[in-house]
Protein backbone atom coordinates (compact mmCIF):
# COMPACT_ATOMS: atom_id res chain seq x y z
CA UNK A 1 0.00 0.00 0.00
CA UNK A 2 1.59 3.30 -1.00
CA UNK A 3 1.49 6.52 1.01
CA UNK A 4 -1.46 8.01 -0.88
CA UNK A 5 -3.70 4.98 -0.43
CA UNK A 6 -2.71 4.85 3.21
CA UNK A 7 -3.62 8.54 3.69
CA UNK A 8 -6.88 7.95 1.83
CA UNK A 9 -7.84 5.02 4.03
CA UNK A 10 -6.95 6.93 7.18
CA UNK A 11 -8.95 10.04 6.28
CA UNK A 12 -11.83 7.89 5.11
CA UNK A 13 -12.08 5.98 8.37
CA UNK A 14 -15.10 7.22 10.36
CA UNK A 15 -13.26 8.26 13.62
CA UNK A 16 -10.62 10.31 11.75
CA UNK A 17 -13.14 11.90 9.41
CA UNK A 18 -15.41 12.71 12.33
CA UNK A 19 -12.56 14.56 14.04
CA UNK A 20 -11.32 16.45 10.94
CA UNK A 21 -14.87 17.44 9.96
CA UNK A 22 -15.46 18.70 13.48
CA UNK A 23 -12.57 21.13 13.04
CA UNK A 24 -13.67 22.23 9.56
CA UNK A 25 -17.41 22.79 10.15
CA UNK A 26 -17.18 26.04 12.20
CA UNK A 27 -14.70 27.48 9.70
CA UNK A 28 -16.98 26.67 6.76
CA UNK A 29 -20.01 28.19 8.49
CA UNK A 30 -18.03 31.26 9.57
CA UNK A 31 -16.46 31.96 6.17
CA UNK A 32 -19.75 31.20 4.43
CA UNK A 33 -21.62 33.63 6.67
CA UNK A 34 -19.09 36.46 6.20
CA UNK A 35 -18.94 35.96 2.43
CA UNK A 36 -22.73 35.74 2.30
CA UNK A 37 -23.15 39.03 4.17
CA UNK A 38 -20.61 40.76 1.92
CA UNK A 39 -22.27 39.30 -1.18
CA UNK A 40 -25.76 40.29 -0.06
CA UNK A 41 -24.61 43.82 0.79
CA UNK A 42 -22.92 44.06 -2.61
CA UNK A 43 -25.94 42.69 -4.41
CA UNK A 44 -28.78 44.38 -2.59
CA UNK A 45 -27.15 47.74 -1.79
CA UNK A 46 -23.90 48.43 -3.64
CA UNK A 47 -24.70 47.10 -7.13
CA UNK A 48 -26.34 49.60 -9.54
CA UNK A 49 -29.91 49.22 -10.76
CA UNK A 50 -30.53 47.31 -13.97
CA UNK A 51 -31.39 49.38 -17.06
CA UNK A 52 -34.59 47.43 -17.73
CA UNK A 53 -35.71 45.71 -14.55
CA UNK A 54 -34.71 48.36 -12.01
CA UNK A 55 -34.32 46.85 -8.56
CA UNK A 56 -36.27 43.68 -9.31
CA UNK A 57 -33.22 42.05 -10.91
CA UNK A 58 -31.52 41.85 -7.49
CA UNK A 59 -33.15 38.49 -6.89
CA UNK A 60 -30.46 36.93 -9.12
CA UNK A 61 -27.99 37.33 -6.25
CA UNK A 62 -29.95 34.62 -4.45
CA UNK A 63 -31.51 32.78 -7.37
CA UNK A 64 -28.43 32.10 -9.50
CA UNK A 65 -26.01 30.97 -6.72
CA UNK A 66 -28.74 28.64 -5.38
CA UNK A 67 -29.37 27.24 -8.85
CA UNK A 68 -25.65 26.54 -9.27
CA UNK A 69 -25.59 24.89 -5.85
CA UNK A 70 -28.56 22.71 -6.74
CA UNK A 71 -26.57 21.32 -9.66
CA UNK A 72 -23.26 21.17 -7.79
CA UNK A 73 -24.79 19.36 -4.80
CA UNK A 74 -26.31 16.81 -7.15
CA UNK A 75 -22.99 16.20 -8.83
CA UNK A 76 -21.32 15.84 -5.43
CA UNK A 77 -24.02 13.39 -4.34
CA UNK A 78 -23.82 11.31 -7.53
CA UNK A 79 -20.00 11.18 -7.47
CA UNK A 80 -20.07 9.92 -3.89
CA UNK A 81 -22.82 7.45 -4.75
CA UNK A 82 -20.62 6.11 -7.56
CA UNK A 83 -17.70 5.57 -5.18
CA UNK A 84 -20.08 4.02 -2.65
CA UNK A 85 -21.52 1.59 -5.22
CA UNK A 86 -18.19 0.41 -6.59
CA UNK A 87 -15.90 0.48 -3.56
CA UNK A 88 -18.55 0.17 -0.82
CA UNK A 89 -16.92 2.92 1.21
CA UNK A 90 -19.09 3.74 4.20
CA UNK A 91 -18.04 7.40 4.28
CA UNK A 92 -19.08 7.95 0.64
CA UNK A 93 -22.54 6.53 1.33
CA UNK A 94 -22.98 8.96 4.23
CA UNK A 95 -21.59 11.92 2.25
CA UNK A 96 -23.92 11.22 -0.68
CA UNK A 97 -26.99 10.90 1.51
CA UNK A 98 -26.02 13.95 3.59
CA UNK A 99 -25.95 16.20 0.53
CA UNK A 100 -29.43 15.24 -0.75
CA UNK A 101 -31.58 17.42 1.59
CA UNK A 102 -29.17 20.36 1.22
CA UNK A 103 -29.31 20.17 -2.56
CA UNK A 104 -33.08 19.84 -2.39
CA UNK A 105 -33.27 22.99 -0.27
CA UNK A 106 -31.13 24.96 -2.74
CA UNK A 107 -33.27 23.72 -5.64
CA UNK A 108 -36.43 24.66 -3.77
CA UNK A 109 -35.11 28.19 -3.13
CA UNK A 110 -34.22 28.45 -6.83
CA UNK A 111 -37.76 27.53 -7.89
CA UNK A 112 -39.40 29.87 -5.37
CA UNK A 113 -37.21 32.91 -6.11
CA UNK A 114 -37.56 32.31 -9.84
CA UNK A 115 -41.32 32.19 -9.46
CA UNK A 116 -41.38 35.41 -7.42
CA UNK A 117 -39.34 37.13 -10.13
CA UNK A 118 -41.31 35.56 -12.96
CA UNK A 119 -44.68 36.98 -11.96
CA UNK A 120 -43.82 40.70 -12.34
CA UNK A 121 -41.21 40.28 -15.12
CA UNK A 122 -42.57 37.55 -17.36
CA UNK A 123 -46.17 37.86 -16.28
CA UNK A 124 -46.55 34.35 -14.86
CA UNK A 125 -45.56 32.39 -11.75
CA UNK A 126 -44.87 29.23 -13.68
CA UNK A 127 -44.61 27.97 -17.24
CA UNK A 128 -43.79 24.49 -18.52
CA UNK A 129 -40.70 25.38 -20.50
CA UNK A 130 -37.67 23.10 -20.64
CA UNK A 131 -35.56 24.92 -18.01
CA UNK A 132 -38.30 25.20 -15.40
CA UNK A 133 -39.53 21.66 -15.95
CA UNK A 134 -36.06 20.08 -15.76
CA UNK A 135 -35.33 22.07 -12.59
CA UNK A 136 -38.54 20.71 -11.09
CA UNK A 137 -37.46 17.19 -12.10
CA UNK A 138 -34.19 17.88 -10.26
CA UNK A 139 -36.14 18.65 -7.09
CA UNK A 140 -38.18 15.46 -7.50
CA UNK A 141 -34.97 13.45 -7.97
CA UNK A 142 -33.65 14.82 -4.68
CA UNK A 143 -36.95 13.99 -2.96
CA UNK A 144 -36.90 10.51 -4.51
CA UNK A 145 -33.37 9.85 -3.22
CA UNK A 146 -34.34 11.07 0.26
CA UNK A 147 -37.54 9.02 0.25
CA UNK A 148 -35.85 5.83 -0.92
CA UNK A 149 -33.10 6.23 1.67
CA UNK A 150 -35.70 6.64 4.42
CA UNK A 151 -37.88 3.77 3.21
CA UNK A 152 -35.37 0.91 3.57
CA UNK A 153 -34.63 -0.39 7.06
CA UNK A 154 -31.00 -1.45 6.62
CA UNK A 155 -28.95 1.77 6.47
CA UNK A 156 -26.26 0.48 4.13
CA UNK A 157 -28.69 -1.18 1.72
CA UNK A 158 -30.79 1.99 1.78
CA UNK A 159 -27.74 4.10 0.90
CA UNK A 160 -26.87 1.80 -1.98
CA UNK A 161 -30.39 1.80 -3.43
CA UNK A 162 -30.79 5.57 -3.07
CA UNK A 163 -27.25 6.06 -4.41
CA UNK A 164 -28.17 4.12 -7.52
CA UNK A 165 -31.15 6.41 -8.13
CA UNK A 166 -28.92 9.45 -7.52
CA UNK A 167 -26.38 8.14 -10.02
CA UNK A 168 -28.97 7.50 -12.74
CA UNK A 169 -30.52 10.92 -12.20
CA UNK A 170 -27.23 12.58 -13.12
CA UNK A 171 -28.37 12.59 -16.77
CA UNK A 172 -30.71 15.42 -15.78
CA UNK A 173 -27.80 17.77 -14.99
CA UNK A 174 -26.77 18.51 -18.61
CA UNK A 175 -30.47 18.79 -19.50
CA UNK A 176 -30.98 21.48 -16.84
CA UNK A 177 -27.84 23.32 -17.89
CA UNK A 178 -28.29 23.18 -21.67
CA UNK A 179 -32.10 23.33 -21.82
CA UNK A 180 -31.97 27.04 -22.62
CA UNK A 181 -29.72 26.34 -25.63
CA UNK A 182 -31.38 23.18 -26.91
CA UNK A 183 -34.97 24.35 -26.86
CA UNK A 184 -36.92 27.58 -27.20
CA UNK A 185 -37.58 28.50 -23.60
CA UNK A 186 -39.11 31.44 -21.81
CA UNK A 187 -36.17 31.32 -19.42
CA UNK A 188 -33.20 33.38 -20.62
CA UNK A 189 -29.85 31.88 -21.54
CA UNK A 190 -26.80 31.76 -19.28
CA UNK A 191 -25.61 35.19 -18.18
CA UNK A 192 -22.32 34.15 -16.60
CA UNK A 193 -20.16 32.08 -18.89
CA UNK A 194 -16.94 30.22 -18.22
CA UNK A 195 -16.04 30.45 -21.89
CA UNK A 196 -16.44 33.81 -23.60
CA UNK A 197 -17.55 37.14 -22.12
CA UNK A 198 -20.32 37.21 -19.50
CA UNK A 199 -23.40 39.28 -20.25
CA UNK A 200 -23.38 41.12 -16.96
CA UNK A 201 -21.73 44.34 -15.90
CA UNK A 202 -18.58 44.02 -13.70
CA UNK A 203 -20.28 46.11 -11.01
CA UNK A 204 -22.96 43.43 -10.74
CA UNK A 205 -20.87 40.31 -11.18
CA UNK A 206 -18.65 40.53 -8.11
CA UNK A 207 -21.52 40.21 -5.60
CA UNK A 208 -22.86 37.31 -7.66
CA UNK A 209 -19.55 35.44 -7.56
CA UNK A 210 -19.13 36.24 -3.85
CA UNK A 211 -22.55 34.75 -3.18
CA UNK A 212 -21.63 31.69 -5.24
CA UNK A 213 -18.50 31.20 -3.16
CA UNK A 214 -20.48 31.73 0.07
CA UNK A 215 -23.07 29.10 -0.84
CA UNK A 216 -20.35 26.60 -1.79
CA UNK A 217 -18.51 27.02 1.51
CA UNK A 218 -21.80 26.86 3.40
CA UNK A 219 -22.75 23.70 1.53
CA UNK A 220 -19.54 21.96 2.60
CA UNK A 221 -20.01 23.05 6.21
CA UNK A 222 -23.54 21.69 6.12
CA UNK A 223 -22.54 18.41 4.44
CA UNK A 224 -19.73 17.82 6.92
CA UNK A 225 -21.99 18.53 9.90
CA UNK A 226 -24.66 16.15 8.59
CA UNK A 227 -22.00 13.53 7.79
CA UNK A 228 -20.72 13.63 11.37
CA UNK A 229 -24.19 12.85 12.67
CA UNK A 230 -24.62 10.18 10.02
CA UNK A 231 -21.36 8.50 11.02
CA UNK A 232 -22.35 8.48 14.70
CA UNK A 233 -25.70 6.90 13.83
CA UNK A 234 -24.23 4.28 11.54
CA UNK A 235 -21.42 3.31 13.92
CA UNK A 236 -23.53 3.56 17.08
CA UNK A 237 -22.28 0.88 19.46
CA UNK A 238 -18.74 0.91 18.05
CA UNK A 239 -15.87 1.74 20.39
CA UNK A 240 -15.00 5.14 18.94
CA UNK A 241 -18.59 6.35 19.16
CA UNK A 242 -18.88 5.02 22.70
CA UNK A 243 -15.75 6.95 23.70
CA UNK A 244 -17.19 10.16 22.22
CA UNK A 245 -20.52 9.56 23.95
CA UNK A 246 -18.81 8.94 27.29
CA UNK A 247 -16.65 12.06 26.94
CA UNK A 248 -19.72 14.09 26.02
CA UNK A 249 -21.61 12.67 29.00
CA UNK A 250 -18.73 13.47 31.38
CA UNK A 251 -18.59 17.03 30.05
CA UNK A 252 -22.29 17.55 30.70
CA UNK A 253 -22.25 16.20 34.29
Amino acid sequence: MNALTLWFHKTGSPPTFYRIAGVLVPWCYGIGLVLGLVGLYGGLVAAPRDYQQGDAYRIIFVHVPCAWMGLFAYFFMAANAFVALVWRIKLSEILAMASAPIGAAFTFITLVTGSLWGKPMWGTWWTWDARLTSELVLLFLYLGVMGLYAAIEDRRQAARAAGFLALIGIVNLPIVHFSVNWWNTLHQGSTVRLIGPSKIDPAMIWPLLTMALATHVWFFGSVLARTRTGLLELDAGKDWVRRIALAEGARRD
Binding site: P48, R49, D50, A130, N184, Q188, K199, D201
Partner: protein, 147 residues
Protein backbone atom coordinates in the same frame (compact mmCIF):
# COMPACT_ATOMS: atom_id res chain seq x y z
CA UNK B 1 -8.33 -3.44 -7.63
CA UNK B 2 -10.01 -6.65 -6.57
CA UNK B 3 -11.99 -8.60 -9.20
CA UNK B 4 -15.28 -7.89 -7.37
CA UNK B 5 -14.66 -4.16 -7.44
CA UNK B 6 -13.59 -4.29 -11.05
CA UNK B 7 -16.79 -6.13 -11.95
CA UNK B 8 -18.89 -3.58 -10.05
CA UNK B 9 -17.02 -0.70 -11.69
CA UNK B 10 -17.71 -2.10 -15.16
CA UNK B 11 -21.35 -2.84 -14.32
CA UNK B 12 -22.07 0.61 -12.87
CA UNK B 13 -20.26 2.31 -15.77
CA UNK B 14 -22.29 0.30 -18.30
CA UNK B 15 -25.58 1.19 -16.60
CA UNK B 16 -24.53 4.84 -16.54
CA UNK B 17 -23.57 4.76 -20.24
CA UNK B 18 -26.89 3.13 -21.14
CA UNK B 19 -28.90 5.71 -19.19
CA UNK B 20 -26.88 8.55 -20.74
CA UNK B 21 -27.52 7.15 -24.24
CA UNK B 22 -31.25 6.83 -23.51
CA UNK B 23 -31.43 10.38 -22.18
CA UNK B 24 -29.45 11.69 -25.15
CA UNK B 25 -31.77 10.01 -27.65
CA UNK B 26 -34.84 11.28 -25.78
CA UNK B 27 -33.49 14.82 -25.79
CA UNK B 28 -32.73 14.53 -29.49
CA UNK B 29 -36.24 13.25 -30.22
CA UNK B 30 -37.83 15.98 -28.11
CA UNK B 31 -35.81 18.60 -29.92
CA UNK B 32 -37.90 17.94 -33.01
CA UNK B 33 -41.38 17.92 -31.52
CA UNK B 34 -41.11 19.69 -28.20
CA UNK B 35 -41.78 23.21 -29.33
CA UNK B 36 -42.40 25.82 -26.68
CA UNK B 37 -43.26 28.45 -29.25
CA UNK B 38 -43.72 29.17 -32.97
CA UNK B 39 -42.31 32.15 -34.84
CA UNK B 40 -44.40 34.12 -37.37
CA UNK B 41 -42.38 32.51 -40.18
CA UNK B 42 -43.26 29.02 -38.91
CA UNK B 43 -46.93 29.97 -38.68
CA UNK B 44 -46.94 31.23 -42.25
CA UNK B 45 -45.28 27.98 -43.35
CA UNK B 46 -48.18 26.11 -41.70
CA UNK B 47 -46.23 24.43 -38.89
CA UNK B 48 -48.47 25.76 -36.13
CA UNK B 49 -51.72 23.97 -35.21
CA UNK B 50 -54.65 25.68 -36.92
CA UNK B 51 -57.56 25.66 -34.54
CA UNK B 52 -55.71 24.85 -31.32
CA UNK B 53 -53.99 27.02 -28.76
CA UNK B 54 -50.26 27.47 -29.19
CA UNK B 55 -47.54 29.93 -28.27
CA UNK B 56 -46.30 32.65 -30.56
CA UNK B 57 -42.82 34.03 -29.97
CA UNK B 58 -41.11 37.07 -31.40
CA UNK B 59 -40.25 40.71 -30.96
CA UNK B 60 -42.86 43.43 -30.55
CA UNK B 61 -42.52 45.57 -33.67
CA UNK B 62 -41.53 49.17 -33.00
CA UNK B 63 -44.39 51.69 -33.17
CA UNK B 64 -47.00 48.98 -33.55
CA UNK B 65 -48.55 49.14 -30.05
CA UNK B 66 -52.10 50.60 -29.92
CA UNK B 67 -54.02 50.79 -26.65
CA UNK B 68 -57.80 51.14 -26.58
CA UNK B 69 -58.84 54.23 -24.64
CA UNK B 70 -61.90 52.67 -22.96
CA UNK B 71 -60.67 49.14 -22.10
CA UNK B 72 -57.55 47.03 -21.45
CA UNK B 73 -57.47 45.89 -25.06
CA UNK B 74 -54.13 46.26 -26.81
CA UNK B 75 -53.07 45.59 -30.38
CA UNK B 76 -49.51 45.09 -31.54
CA UNK B 77 -47.49 43.27 -34.17
CA UNK B 78 -45.06 40.45 -33.38
CA UNK B 79 -42.22 39.93 -35.80
CA UNK B 80 -39.20 37.64 -36.19
CA UNK B 81 -37.74 40.27 -38.57
CA UNK B 82 -38.85 38.19 -41.57
CA UNK B 83 -42.62 37.83 -41.19
CA UNK B 84 -45.15 39.70 -39.05
CA UNK B 85 -48.20 38.64 -37.08
CA UNK B 86 -50.85 41.04 -35.72
CA UNK B 87 -51.81 40.25 -32.11
CA UNK B 88 -54.69 41.41 -29.96
CA UNK B 89 -54.89 40.97 -26.20
CA UNK B 90 -57.11 42.14 -23.37
CA UNK B 91 -55.45 42.34 -19.97
CA UNK B 92 -52.48 43.64 -18.04
CA UNK B 93 -49.11 43.39 -19.75
CA UNK B 94 -46.00 42.33 -17.77
CA UNK B 95 -43.39 44.90 -16.63
CA UNK B 96 -40.88 43.97 -19.28
CA UNK B 97 -43.34 44.34 -22.16
CA UNK B 98 -42.21 47.09 -24.51
CA UNK B 99 -41.64 47.62 -28.19
CA UNK B 100 -38.50 45.88 -29.37
CA UNK B 101 -38.77 43.33 -26.54
CA UNK B 102 -39.16 39.56 -27.03
CA UNK B 103 -42.51 38.18 -25.93
CA UNK B 104 -44.34 34.87 -25.83
CA UNK B 105 -48.10 35.00 -26.40
CA UNK B 106 -50.52 32.10 -25.93
CA UNK B 107 -53.70 31.98 -27.97
CA UNK B 108 -55.27 31.00 -31.29
CA UNK B 109 -55.27 32.35 -34.81
CA UNK B 110 -58.63 33.82 -35.81
CA UNK B 111 -59.03 35.30 -39.29
CA UNK B 112 -55.31 35.86 -39.68
CA UNK B 113 -55.00 37.64 -36.33
CA UNK B 114 -53.51 36.07 -33.24
CA UNK B 115 -55.93 36.43 -30.33
CA UNK B 116 -53.87 36.04 -27.17
CA UNK B 117 -55.16 34.94 -23.79
CA UNK B 118 -51.79 35.39 -22.09
CA UNK B 119 -48.78 37.56 -22.94
CA UNK B 120 -45.40 36.85 -21.31
CA UNK B 121 -42.29 38.98 -21.69
CA UNK B 122 -39.07 37.11 -22.38
CA UNK B 123 -36.04 38.56 -20.70
CA UNK B 124 -32.61 38.30 -22.29
CA UNK B 125 -29.49 37.38 -20.35
CA UNK B 126 -27.98 40.89 -20.32
CA UNK B 127 -27.69 42.80 -17.08
CA UNK B 128 -26.18 46.30 -16.92
CA UNK B 129 -26.66 49.64 -15.17
CA UNK B 130 -28.69 52.31 -16.93
CA UNK B 131 -25.63 54.58 -17.34
CA UNK B 132 -23.78 51.85 -19.25
CA UNK B 133 -26.82 51.22 -21.48
CA UNK B 134 -27.09 54.95 -22.22
CA UNK B 135 -23.37 55.14 -23.03
CA UNK B 136 -23.64 52.17 -25.40
CA UNK B 137 -26.68 53.67 -27.13
CA UNK B 138 -24.90 57.02 -27.44
CA UNK B 139 -21.79 55.39 -28.87
CA UNK B 140 -23.93 53.45 -31.32
CA UNK B 141 -25.77 56.53 -32.56
CA UNK B 142 -22.60 58.60 -32.95
CA UNK B 143 -21.04 55.68 -34.79
CA UNK B 144 -24.09 55.52 -37.06
CA UNK B 145 -23.97 59.29 -37.63
CA UNK B 146 -20.29 59.12 -38.57
CA UNK B 147 -21.03 56.64 -41.33
Amino acid sequence: MTPTRKRRLILVSLVLAAVAAAAGLTALALQQNMTYLYSPTEIEAGHAPESARFRLGGVVLENSLRRASDSLKVDFVVTDRFREMPVEYTGILPDLFREGQSIVATGTVQNGRFVATEVLAKHDETYMPKEVKDAIDKAKSTHADAR
